[in-house]
């Protein structure tokens, strides 16, 4: 059933296009890494967006987090179907076991959700996390690098972790 049209598109298509425009690229990156299959990745993304649009879920947290988790389920469903399909002997190496595939995809999901969470925390907090955790600076070195007092580095480190926890909870990631 067609609803109101805008610029030749139905409103449904507008909603789907919007979702795709906002999140498509990030989803594509995730799916490409998880599946290692550049050709199939766009299809997975499209099916994901479609599923979410069809279900029209009530999402209180992050739509992007929800899309990532849906993409994970789409990939695992596909994989399950593919592994139950008979294959020509000798032509293809044995498939990764299902638990391994799930574990691998989940590990990557953790990663992309973390990327997303880090993007959402404030710049000041991000800088301190980057300096202390990733670049392995001491508080004193981070203070010098960021041009702020050491006490501020410590206090931002604490509030950065709190903010990260709260963003992750918002995205549906359990503590």
């Amino acid at each position: 059933m067609r609803r109101a049209r805008r610029n030749g598109q139905s409103m449904d298509e507008v909603v789907v296009a919007e979702m795709y425009r906002e999140h498509g690229e990030a989803l594509l990156g995730f799916v490409r890494r998880a599946s290692g299959d550049p050709d199939g990745a766009e299809d997975v993304v499209q099916e994901t967006v479609l599923k979410v649009w069809q279900a029209a879920p009530e999402i209180s947290g992050s739509l992007r987090g929800y899309l990532f988790r849906t993409a994970r389920n789409v990939m695992i469903d596909n994989y399950r179907r593919a592994s139950s399909r008979p294959r020509r002997s000798g032509s293809v190496p044995a498939l990764e076991s299902m638990p391994d595939a799930v574990e691998r995809i989940d590990a990557l999901l953790t990663r992309v959700l973390m990327e997303e969470a880090l993007r959402r925390i404030s710049r000041e907090h991000r800088d301190v996390v980057l300096a202390l955790h990733y670049n392995q600076l001491t508080v004193a070195q981070a203070a010098a690098a960021l041009g702020i007092p050491a006490g501020t580095v410590k206090s931002r480190a604490f509030y950065a972790l709190r903010e990260l926890r709260s963003v992750l909870e918002d995205m549906g990631v359990e503590g």
């Binding site: 550049p38 973390m114 410590k154």
Partner: protein, 250 residues
């Protein structure tokens, strides 16, 4: 709220403690404080998994992702690792609204077709990784095109969570390891095994009290010549191993 004020005495070190920014002296002072401070212990319990979660990104990725002027506008490190197929002129960052081309029915039809492609890709990984849980950011390709490096993530049977990135360089390969759940004492070593059976120690470092390490080593071997990357303890037992696909497998 637990009443912890980050600027207040020992409490204030909690964030820096978890993020590994305290000196050895500060760390032991904070641990003493922790022993007698219930609110810090409860806050610690709430936040303590975060460093391990941060470990999902390597230092290089995090710097790439977060180090820019406006990380909110930066592409995902995951998506940045590969060029977008049929990428748009602006590097594939944004897709115009009109680029949602197919009807919804067509999308459903297409979605059913790609199961085998995924299976084939996963099969290559399974064969390549030799049981390790790995993923390939960009599988090595034929010699004619400038091939990207490769990345693998795994949890070894020793419980070590490791991520290995291999970047092609003119002089060989830059091997980066980011790992968690490593031994917390002693010396750790990174070893490379090549196709001819030669094994070489390419780096060694002191274990950290957090069990996390990040190390980058230049290896004077081209990527296809590298067969395995191993993390070993000083006693030479293998703690984690990544087996690379034989060249040409993909």
């Amino acid at each position: 709220m637990t009443g912890i004020d980050a600027a207040d005495g020992g409490h204030g070190d909690l964030g820096a403690y978890l993020l590994g920014g305290l000196s050895a002296g500060e760390r032991s002072r904070f641990e003493e404080h922790l022993f007698g401070c219930a609110s810090c212990r409860s806050e610690l319990a709430r936040l303590r998994d975060l460093p391990a979660r941060l470990g999902a990104l390597s230092a290089e990725e995090a710097n790439q992702l977060l180090g820019g002027d406006d990380p909110a506008e930066t592409g995902s490190a995951a998506s940045a690792a590969l060029p977008l197929a049929g990428g748009t002129a602006d590097g594939g960052r944004r897709r115009p609204v009109g680029a949602w081309p197919e009807s919804l029915i067509e999308l459903r039809r297409r979605a059913r077709r790609r199961a085998f492609a995924l299976a084939a890709a996963v099969a290559v990984l399974a064969g390549a990784a030799g049981g390790a849980v790995g993923y390939v950011a960009g599988a090595p390709r034929g010699p004619a095109e400038p091939a990207p490096g490769a990345s693998y993530a795994l949890t070894s049977r020793h419980g070590v969570q490791a991520r290995v990135d291999l970047d092609r360089k003119a002089w060989g390969t830059e091997v980066s390891l980011t790992a968690a759940e490593l031994p917390t004492t002693g010396v750790l070593e990174l070893w490379i095994l090549d196709g001819s059976g030669q094994s070489n120690r390419v780096g060694s470092w002191m274990a950290t009290t957090t069990g996390k390490s990040a190390i980058t080593c230049p290896v004077p071997l081209q990527l296809p010549a590298i067969e395995r990357v191993q993390v070993r303890s000083g006693g030479r037992s293998v703690l984690a191993e990544v087996r690379l696909p034989p060249s040409g497998a993909s």
